[in-house]
Amino acid sequence: MLAMLRKGGRSVSDLAEPFPMSLQAAMKHIDVLSNAGLITRRKQGRTVACAFRPQPLKNAMRWLKRYEREWEERLDRFDEYVTALQRGESS
């Protein structure tokens, strides 16, 4: 469903159509995606339009990238610390 929405907004029935499940079951999937903040829903006349909202995934990825950078810095510090320790410069 997310793959479909990445290509553009879809109505709930369009989203449910390719899957071998009831419309009711598809609605449950859509609820889960919506609760996780990954899609938005908007009423348009008699249909509900869904759109992909990538921000939560982007946020998590951004944080991991930052964490990765912090670990490299940590290893730099460790390297410096151990080198100093060996020279007897550190208590």
């Binding site: 999937h29 995934l57 946020n59 990825m61 912090e70 810095e73 510090r77 610390y81 320790l85």
Partner: protein
């Protein structure tokens, strides 16, 4: 990195010009670790560690106005070659994820090769957005999605 909701794994490697017993001590002894733990510019006001299998640890890191807390247990300690810990990471009071870290130390011609493998579980979608609330973690969300698919 994957975005399919499975566990995220980061790995780091470094060769340090010091023999393994010294590297092990500097890494595991709170007295030493508190002096280098955390990213550049960080301070470590709390580093409590009961260094034995099943023992717990609690570390607080102050960095760029943020307070991070890591709490967990030592799953496996094989001095001076292997250290496995698991715990959770909280920043400014918001839990970001659970983690498991495997650190191995190998002799390398008088130097020591360090390998860190860190796995993240239950990564919160708002992890990159510190002002975020407390939405369900990515893992929980995908678990629920999977459970729905199996119906």
């Amino acid at each position: 990195m994957k975005t399919d909701g499975k566990d995220e794994v980061l790995t780091f490697q470094r060769v340090v010009d010091a023999p393994r017993p010294i590297v092990w001590q500097a890494w595991t002894d709170p007295k030493h670790a508190a002096k280098w733990w955390g990213p550049a510019g960080a301070t470590v006001p709390v580093f409590e560690a009961d260094l034995r299998t099943g023992g717990s640890f609690r570390i607080e890191i102050e960095h760029s106005g943020n307070t991070s807390r890591v709490e967990g247990i030592y799953e496996e300690i094989v001095e001076p070659e292997r250290l496995v810990t698991s715990g959770s990471l909280t920043r400014n009071g918001t839990k970001l994820c659970d983690t498991r870290r495997i650190v191995t130390f190998e002799d390398d011609n008088g130097k020591t090769a360090i390998a860190v493998q860190q796995t993240f579980f239950n990564l919160a979608p708002e992890a990159g957005d510190m002002s975020g609330g407390t939405k369900a973690g990515m893992e929980e969300y995908f678990d629920r999605l999977e459970a729905h698919l199996r119906r």
